[in-house]
Structure formats: structure tokens, C-alpha cells
Symmetry: C2
Subunit: 362 residues, 2 copies
């Protein structure tokens, strides 16, 4: 596999001299296509006697290769590619490090239906380091998407892939259905004002416990695989209209506690400096976007979340979409009326159409 | 920089078709030597219209590149090369993930002296993600080496590099000077029976707190940079005589709590299955050493630590080596006599020579 490609690249970046044989020896292990399996392994002593004639950089690299005779310890790749998201997985915590998406308006409509998707182990991840559905069962924590299913209406496959457990963290259920959901809807809504919206989401385990002057990180782990329950979740949002030349890129960073959050809470309460998030996460999230090209998202856009009532109407809409019988459609609609929610035209239209199509089915 | 080389390699591993332009666009960002800065950025919509004619693998890769328009979020490299050790650093925890060494007998003697080394920030690490000496000050935790200074007597530079804070974790001081020290001495002692000894050391944060059926990870963080105090430390040792054909490779894995440990404790009490350590650390430590080639270290070697008395004599030796005046030499020797420790020939010889050389100095 290509797992140590970066190491090899570093290896090659010095003056190589007599290192060439080692390079091919290593390639033989890393790339299955190589046929050079006969190259002899040299001991460190041999290196050392050679190293004297080499520059220090090369010497270090030669010894590095011998120290790592049994491979570079492998904590997993930096980027795993899916149909519509990219993620980095934390093999120790059994949750992602970050999950990146690009959302455009066209992704948000289409035939995909979450009823057809199932939470399952990522077939591309070594099961040894995976969380399992069983770990979540009875834990009290919901399976929270980082790349949301709802950003992938355009493709059932893209939606299905968001249900891989590599994209899932143990999340407070009220947070998942409430504040975090509103944040996801806000990010989707940005596509009405920006043609390209990128978002990087992920979990954090932050120090939350103080004893005197001491600080502690404290988090639960669930199931046989000790899946980390994050203390917080983050989103880094970039929004832009690249067709407008030299228009700045709006950037917002948010850290949200993984717990129930009041319906009245504002998104700006959870905004943080991108740099502070990067420092605590240990990740540069936008390494190729210089600070000079960024503007504050919440100063060029509202950062206004939808109201509790609008969220409830959103859920009514989802229930209507997923209803499989006329009785279910009617029951959902009665629930709306009982709660004195005022449906908009879209919802009224959806109700009528759904009722009609289910009535005419055999 | 080459930070996203692995991603690019993955990118290239599919059928590339019309992806070539993107590849060079990306190269321009990753490799400063490229002169292709004029390639236009295409939007995801353009990709999608092209993707229809491409295989799924390529489609995914094209979208991945666009999702990561502002770079692959960077959590740091897998392997950082030094003169005599290789390590992977955890930018979130501000301590290493693993530190690998190759120890041979010749590394263990030589002119290097730890009195000339200073704990300092690793000049090759971004300061933004580094721990600082100040973080440890007054924290109650010592600065524990993962690659020990004592494995690098052959070279002052190699020894100095083990004092970079990338190689350091907050360690219980009694553990550092006691049990962990004995383990380090045991590993060094293996070079008397095996010509090549490799060791991978590192910190862990394991679940240690139980509340009913729930499990929690709880650890302190110190200083302004919230440096993680690990709950445990590990070593993976391989020992071999490669000049003997087909001789198996002895492998031992150990997890030691980061706390004071009784003088009578045996190393075998802390031996674990390599696989269990790998699962909890999230790292395959020996990806190129198949299990069929491994034998249990503690079944082919003693795994016997030196006694408390021998450890104390070892410290007397170090104090003698570092003594700068005859008075200091005499005071160290009186301490040995007062504690009724019985010096071996090496120590008696060291005492005499040190006393003589300091007496004759001007």
C-alpha cells in the first residue's frame, strides 16, 4: 500500500548518493508492483561507515530507514476519499479527526432518501480500528453524522457513504436533533447566497474539569471498542462566490458542546477564532488559504439559525417525505395542527402531493 | 511542502483521464518547483459533468481535490527523522504518538554527555503546536524522554536531539527515575545478546475511571499549551541477530502506568499482547513484520529488570561521570558508603579515574 509514501518522499528530498538501493528496497515493500525484492538489507553499522562520506541530511535518512525496518508505525491515512466527502480517521479514538465537504445548491435536491441508508462499518477501513453499531447500542449516545446525510440528496451512494461509521461520533441526541441540526441547516442555507460552501466538521476532547489550578480532560468511551464520546464538536465553514473575481472568502469557526443546548441559543455564542480551534485540534484546517484572503463569515452573513418553530416544521417535512401510508401522512399533519405550527406553502404542497400519490397507489 | 504527498499519490492511483490538469494544478501548490501556476480552477459542477464519463474511482478523486481546495487539513507528518531516532508527533496532545529507535552496542559508549544537552523546542516543529519548557515548570511532572538520552552516548548531536520537546512527555518523576529507567536499562542490556534492538516508545491515554457500567478517560493537561499528561507509557521491543539466518525476531510489548511503581515490580507484570496495545493506541507498530516471524521476547530472554540496588549504583555512576570537582566525587562516594551499597569493579575504577583526572587539573 501507499501508506508510507510521505515518508519516502521525505527520504528522497535529501541528497541521495548511495541511498538509491535503499529507496528501491523500500519501494519493493510499499508498492506491490515493484519486482526488486532481492536488494539486500544493510545494517546500521554499514550505514554509519557510509554516512561519514554523506551529508548529515542523507545520513539521517539512511538511519531512519533502518530504524523503521519493520515499517513506519501506521496511525492511518490523512485523507480518505468518498463520493462526496473526504475524511481523516482517528484509529485510537475510533471517530474521525475531520470530515470535509463541498456543498453546492444542486447537492441538496434529488432522489436520495435516508430511509434507504444504513449505519455500517466502512468497508474501506480496517475493522480492527473501527467502531461497531453495537458500541452505540444502549450507550445513551446517538450516532451523529459529521458529513450530514441531508447534504447528499443528489446521490443515494453519496448519502449511503455518510452512514459509514468513519463519519459518525457518539453525540448527545438532543444536540444532534436540535442545535447541531440547526447549524447544519444554516450551512446548507448558505448555498442560497454563496455558490461554493465548504465545511469541515469533527469532534474534540477538550479540558473541561478544573481542580484548583489543575485542568483535566474527561470523556466517556463506549462499547467494546472504547469509542470516544467527544466533549465538543466543531465546524469550519468557508463560503464564496468564486465567479466574482477577488471576492473574499467568508470563514467561520464554531465549537459546540456535545450536550443539550437551549432552543434560544445563538450561533455567534459558539464562534471561535479559527486559530484557537486549530491549536486545540492540532490541525491546520485551511493550509492553502492565507489569512489575508479571509473575512469573518458572521460579519458578511447573518449566522442566524432558524427558529425552534422552523426546525419543527423541517422535521414535519421530513416525516411527510418518509411517510409510506395515507394514515401516516394524516397523523403527521394532525400533529402539526395540534402543536399550532403554521405550515409554509412548501409544506402544504408536500402534504397534498404525498397524500395524492399514496392514495392512488394500488 | 510535501505534506499532502500521500493524498496526491492516492489521487494518482486511479484512472486519471482528464484529471491530469488538476494534478498539475495541485502539484503547483504542493511542490514549489512546479511552474504551472496558470491552470484554471474548475468548479465541482464542471467535474460532475466530466465525471459521468469517468469511472467512479476517478470521480471520487476529482471531487476530493475540489473539496480540499484549501489544502488537506494538516495534523502533522507520520515520521520525523532525527540523527538517531524517528518520531510521529501528536499536534493535538502536544506529545509524541510514537518514537522509534535502533540500538546497537556501539551507540551506548562514547563522548556524549547529557550535561551538555538542553530541553528545548524542536526547531523542525511548528512552534504553534509545540509544548514549551514553561508548560512543565511547577506542574509537578518531569520531562520524560521517550528515546532516552542514554541510548545516544556515541553522538552529542544524537543525544541533544532527544532533548527536543517532541521526544518528551509529562512523566511521574518517580516512575521516570525508577521503573521506566530500569526498563530502559533492560532494553540497552539486550544489545549484549542481540546485535539489533529496535524499540518504539510512546504515551497513551487509556480509560481508567469507571462509574457503574460506564468508562471514562481522564487525564491532566499542563501549562498554557495544554500538554497532555499520559495515563500510561508503552514500549514495543524487537531484538534479533540478523546475521543468523532465519532466526526469529523477539518481540515484547509493555504498558506501564505513568505513576510511581514499587521497586519489587517485575517487567512481565506489564507485558501485553502487541495486538491489544495496537488497538488502543490506534497504531500498527510493526506493519512489515508478519506475526509468523515473531517470538515472545520474555520467553527467549529474561525480561528481568535490574534490582533496586543495581539501579542506585547506576545513578552513583552517572553522578560520578558528571562530577566536576574532587569534592563532588568524594561526596558521591561517601553517599554510596553510607547507604551500604557495594560498588562493582567498573564503579571503583570510575571513582579512581575521575578523582585522579580532577586532581591533576589546574
Amino acid at each position: 500500500m501507499l501508506r508510507s509514501a510521505r515518508f519516502l518522499n521525505g527520504f528522497l528530498s535529501g541528497t541521495v548518493c548511495s541511498a538509491v538501493a535503499f529507496y528501491f528496497y523500500n519501494r519493493a515493500d510499499f508498492k506491490e508492483t515493484s519486482s526488486d525484492g532481492q536488494t539486500k538489507i544493510q545494517t546500521k553499522e554499514t550505514y554509519l561507515s557510509e554516512v561519514v562520506t554523506l551529508d548529515l541530511e542523507t545520513a539521517k535518512q539512511l538511519k531512519g530507514t533502518d530504524i523503521l525496518k519493520y515499517g513506519t508505525p501506521d496511525r492511518g491515512s490523512d485523507a480518505r476519499l468518498y463520493y462526496n466527502h473526504v475524511l481523516c480517521y482517528d484509529q485510537a479514538k475510533k471517530i474521525p479527526v475531520w470530515v470535509a465537504e463541498l456543498i453546492t445548491k444542486s447537492d441538496l435536491t434529488g432522489p436520495a432518501n435516508r430511509q434507504h441508508s444504513k449505519f455500517k462499518m466502512d468497508p474501506t477501513l480496517d475493522e480492527f480500528f473501527s467502531s461497531h453499531n453495537k458500541d452505540f447500542l444502549g450507550s445513551g449516545w446517538s450516532r451523529g453524522h459529521m458529513a450530514p446525510a441531508g447534504n447528499n440528496k443528489f446521490s443515494q451512494q453519496a448519502m449511503d457513504e455518510t452512514f459509514y461509521l468513519t463519519n459518525i461520533v457518539p453525540q448527545d441526541i438532543s444536540n444532534n436533533a436540535g442545535f447541531w441540526n440547526k447549524l447544519e441547516i444554516y450551512v446548507r442555507d448558505l448555498t442560497n447566497r454563496f455558490s461554493e460552501v465548504r465545511v469541515i466538521s469533527g469532534p474534540l476532547t477538550l479540558p473541561t474539569v478544573k481542580e484548583g489550578s489543575k485542568q483535566f480532560v474527561n470523556y466517556e468511551v463506549i462499547g467494546n471498542n472504547s469509542v470516544t464520546v467527544p466533549t465538543h464538536l466543531f465546524k469550519v465553514v468557508t463560503a464564496e462566490n468564486p465567479q466574482q473575481p477577488d471576492s473574499p472568502i467568508a470563514v467561520g469557526a464554531f465549537i459546540v458542546p456535545n450536550q443539550p443546548i437551549q432552543g434560544s441559543a445563538q450561533l455567534t455564542q459558539y464562534q471561535v477564532k479559527l486559530e484557537d480551534l486549530e491549536k486545540t485540534a492540532g490541525v491546520y484546517f485551511l493550509p492553502r488559504l492565507p489569512p489575508s484572503k479571509r473575512v469573518d463569515l458572521c460579519s458578511v452573513d447573518s449566522c442566524q439559525l432558524i427558529s425552534q418553530e422552523a426546525l419543527e416544521l423541517y422535521f414535519i417535512g421530513r416525516k411527510l417525505e418518509n411517510a409510506k401510508t395515507v394514515e401516516r401522512v394524516d397523523s403527521v399533519w394532525k400533529d402539526l395542527e395540534r402543536r399550532h405550527l403554521i405550515p409554509d406553502d412548501y409544506l402544504i404542497d408536500l402534504y397534498k402531493k404525498k397524500r395524492e400519490s399514496l392514495s392512488t397507489e394500488p
